[in-house]
Structure formats: C-alpha cells, structure tokens
C-alpha cells in the first residue's frame, strides 16, 4: 500500500516536472526579440500549419453544418419551430462545435505533423547542427511553429463556423424549404457577438495554445528514433485531444454556466 502511494506520488511529481520543463522550454522559445527573418519563417509556417489545414476544415465544416441543419430541422419540425433552425445551427457551431471539432482536426492534422517534423529534425541531427552553428533551435524551429499554431487555429475556427452555417443553410433552406429570411433573421437575433462569437474565439485561442505547446514540446523532447517519434506523435494527438475536451468543459462552465 505504501509502495502504491509512493509510486503514485513519484509519478505525479514526474508529470509536474515535465510540465515545468515544457513551460520553461516555451518561455525560452518565445521570449525573445524577433528579427526580420523571424517574420518570413512565421509566414512559411502559417502556410504549412494553417493554409494546408484548410481543406480538412472546409470539408468537415460543410458536412457538420449540413448534418446540424438536417437534425435540427427534424427535431424542430416536430414542434413546428423549424424556422429556428438557423439560430440552432449558428449557436451550436460558434459556441461549441467549431472550436472543439476544428481543434481536434487541427491536432490530428497540424499538431502531429509539427511533432513528427521536429522529431525527425532531432533524429537527423539538424537541431544539433543548428546548435553547433550557434543558432538556438528553440528560436529557429520551435518559436515560428508555435506562433503559427496560435494564429492559425482561431482563423480556422472562424472559417469553420462560416462554412458550417452555410452547410446548414444548404440543407435547411435550399433542400428542406425553411424560409431564408427566418434562417438568417433568427440567427441574427439569437447570436450575441460578445457572448457567443467572442467566447468561441477565446476557446479557439486556448485550444491553439494547448495543441501548439504539446506538439512542439513532444517533438523537441522525443527519443530520436523511429519508435520515439511515433510515440511522441501519438502523445501529441492524445494529450491535445484530452486537453481540448477537458478545457472545453471548464471554459463552457465559466462562459455559459451562469446562463443555464
């Protein structure tokens, strides 16, 4: 029993140490005066992390919006309130589904790629090589990827909401015949910019931080072997996904808990 408690304690301490190390790494990487060349590296990473994630975000958003339109219509029509489908689709998306689903997709698409890329750089001695040239890999490799994640995800979430709402419109209005004026009008009346849209974006920002931080830390500290990189990539997706879902509950409780 004592051993069990001791193991639990040392495991917990180990986790705390790793969180501390990850935080320290992040501070070392990001607290630095940017140079002109840092900007071009950031643009390059924005393309890799953000633009290249667009397709999966657009396609997923369209289908999720269409499913919401269909489900919402079926449910609301039973009570004769199908004209409210627009507000249902929009609120569901901007408050919850866009930040959470886009973040989960982003963790799978961009987070795993970041970890694998940095891990492979470590395995092929590119990080050691940078160090030997007197260039800090944290500034050169980690920082632009981290900031690219932070900037990209909120934009992708906004795009997700827009496309999702359009997907809902396609099904509810164009297919099932809900009046277009009701779809947009109810939505406009029900969705509050500060309460719903901005809170959704705050969630996106928190998720972006969690994913980017996890991805760069896992890549930078992975065991530089094929097995090590594979394990680190898996950890990025698993830890990020769990953190997204956990923090989503906390943030929802904080943002919308009082209004229930």
């Amino acid at each position: 029993m004592i051993n069990l408690i001791a193991d639990l304690g040392s495991g917990l301490l180990g986790k705390l140490v790793r969180i501390g190390q990850a935080l320290l790494m992040l501070l070392q990487a990001t607290i630095v005066r940017p140079k002109a060349s840092s900007f071009s590296r950031l643009i390059q990473q924005l393309y890799v992390v953000g633009v290249q994630s667009l397709i999966i975000i657009l396609v997923s958003a369209l289908f999720i919006g269409m499913v919401l339109g269909l489900q919402g219509y079926t449910l609301l029509a039973a009570y004769g309130t199908e004209q409210a489908v627009g507000q249902m689709v929009a609120l569901t998306l901007v408050r919850e589904l866009s930040p959470v689903v886009a973040a989960l997709l982003f963790a799978g698409r961009a987070g795993s790629a970041l970890t694998a890329e940095i891990g492979l750089m470590k395995a092929t001695e590119q990080l050691a090589s940078l160090e030997m040239f007197g260039v800090d890999p944290l500034h050169r490799i980690v920082a632009p990827r981290f900031w690219a994640g932070i900037i990209s995800l909120p934009l992708l979430v906004a795009i997700f909401s827009l496309v999702g709402i359009y997907g809902g419109h396609l099904v509810a209005v164009d297919w099932l015949g809900v009046y277009s004026g009701s779809y947009w009008g109810n939505m406009q009346q029900a969705v509050d910019f500060n309460g719903d849209v901005l809170n959704g974006m705050v969630k996106a920002l928190v998720f972006a931080f969690l994913i980017s931080w996890t991805a760069v830390y896992q890549g930078y500290t992975c065991v530089p072997t094929s097995q090590g990189i594979s394990a680190a990539t898996t950890r990025t997706v698993v830890y990020s996904s769990l953190a997204i879902l956990g923090f989503d509950f906390i943030l929802t409780a904080l943002m919308f808990g009082g209004t229930v």
């Binding site: 750089m121 092929t124 590119q126 050691a128 090589s129 030997m132 040239f133 007197g134 800090d136």
Partner: protein, 268 residues
C-alpha cells in the same frame, strides 16, 4: 597543456544513467594535425565529440578547447567558440527545407555580414572545393549519401574554422565516395591550416590520413600514437582492434551467465 594542443581533455568522467562511458579520460589533440579517434562501437567516440563540441558536459574533469574550459562558458561565449569550429555530423544533418546553396550559405548568413555577391562567391567556392558547384540548386533529398556528406563538409568549412570535427565521415559510403572524402579531409586540412578530429571505426581509411590516433576502450584511452606505431603495437587490445579479430580482450559476447545455466531442459 602543451602550447600546441587545441583540445585538452583532463580527467574527464561521463556517465549515462549509472554506466560510466568515460572514467578519468586524459588526452590532448595537437593543433594543425589530423587526429583519428577510434574504438569499437559503444566505446564513446561520438560522445567524446559531443563533449568537445559542448553539446554535453562532463560529470567530472574538464575539457579545454582553445584554452577555455568549455563547460564553464555561458551560451554567448560557447557560440563564439563554436564559430571557430565546424562539425560534420554522421548523417550530414543538412537542413532538409533548404537547397544545397542555402545549406552552405546558412552559417555565413547567421554570423557574417556579407553582400549578396560576396556570399554567392564564397558559397560557390566552397561547393567547388567539394566538387558540387553544379548541384547548388538541388535539395538534400535529391543527393546521394556521398554527395550529402560533401555538401555538409562544404557547410562545415564555410566559416573557415580553425577546428573541424568529423563524426564517422566514412560510414555507409561506397569506396569511391570514401576515397573522395578522404582526399577532401586531407586537402582541406592542409589548405586551410585546420585541425581535424575524426571519429571513425574505418581503420584503413582513418589511418591513411591521420597524423595521430587515439584508441578508446573500456572508458579510457587505450593508446595514443601514430598510425604506424599502432599497426606495430603488441598490446592485445590494440592488435585485436587494428586486425579486426572477433574475440579477444574486447569480448565478442555481451556479459551474460554461462550458456549451460541458461539452456533449458537438457538441450545442449
């Protein structure tokens, strides 16, 4: 420390977990010479190179590089020292997102303020020295192993360092690439007045160009001498390594209980 020693390793001990990689290691590397550090796999050759480069710190003792204790330097001082040395990594370690030209230009862009023309000419001359001027627009993924190693060599000497460290430069190379690298290491060392330290277990190739050899084993320097003296040595460990004998002082078998104790149920 002799005045002509660029590197002096004094009573260095280094451990991985509880295993001692080095225990009271002492040796010196002379300026202007090609020194080969050799030894069987796992003898700590690459670890020693990383200790010299300041990527690892010894647990005991000190490594003096350019007459400075490398472990006592702060990051800025370490970077200043590193600007005076080049490293050729075992894998080449070319930046995969940069072309051959940009890889060689990388240290110049980072540390020297050259005009575009000066930079272009300097990179071209380095690539010409390794015979790859024509490959300047290729990406690392388009190069053969030998070509990648030569580009990495051009990049390592781009800053015209005083010291260059080679980590297994001949590993995995075909005989032609090996001969080319051998010639380049020798020529660059004399033409640029370099000090070269190469870690290798390719005995013939390393001995052919080295002025002195440091043979590592059992966490210490087994012998430090000229290649000719090593070939003539009667030391059993040296003889075993130089002549590639499978078993001897350096055992063929990894430490294990007697085979009879391990076999099951009367089988033999």
């Amino acid at each position: 420390m002799a005045i002509d020693d660029i590197i002096n390793i004094q009573n260095v001990s280094f451990y991985r977990d509880d295993r001692a990689i080095f225990k009271n290691l002492n040796c010196a590397i002379s300026t202007g010479k090609i020194t080969a550090i050799m030894g069987p796999s796992g003898s700590g050759k690459t670890t020693l190179l990383r200790l010299i480069g300041g990527q690892l710190n010894p647990h005991e003792g000190q490594i003096r590089l350019f007459d400075q204790d490398i472990a006592a330097l702060n990051r800025k001082q370490l970077n200043q020292i590193r600007a005076r040395m080049g490293v050729l990594f075992q894998s080449g370690a070319l930046f995969t997102d940069l072309s051959v030209f940009e890889n060689v230009a990388f240290p110049l862009r980072e540390h020297m303020h050259l005009s575009a023309d000066e930079l272009y000419n300097k990179v071209l001359l380095k690539l010409e020295a390794v015979g790859l001027r024509g490959a300047r627009d290729l990406m690392p993924s388009q190069l053969s192993g030998g070509m990648a190693r030569r580009v990495a060599l051009a990049r390592a000497v781009a800053m015209e360092p005083e010291l260059i460290l080679y980590d297994e430069p001949f590993a995995g190379q075909d005989p032609i690439a090996m001969a080319v690298l051998q010639r380049l290491i020798k020529d660059l060392n004399s033409a640029m007045n370099l000090t070269s330290v190469l870690v290798s277990h390719d005995i013939a190739e390393a001995c052919a160009i080295a002025d002195q050899v440091i043979l590592l084993g059992e966490g210490r320097v087994l012998v430090q001498d000229t290649p000719a003296a090593l070939q003539a040595s009667n030391d059993p460990a040296v003889k075993q390594f130089i002549h590639g004998e499978a078993d001897g002082v350096i055992p063929f078998h990894f430490a294990a209980p007697a085979l009879q104790q391990e076999l099951r149920g009367g089988s033999e």
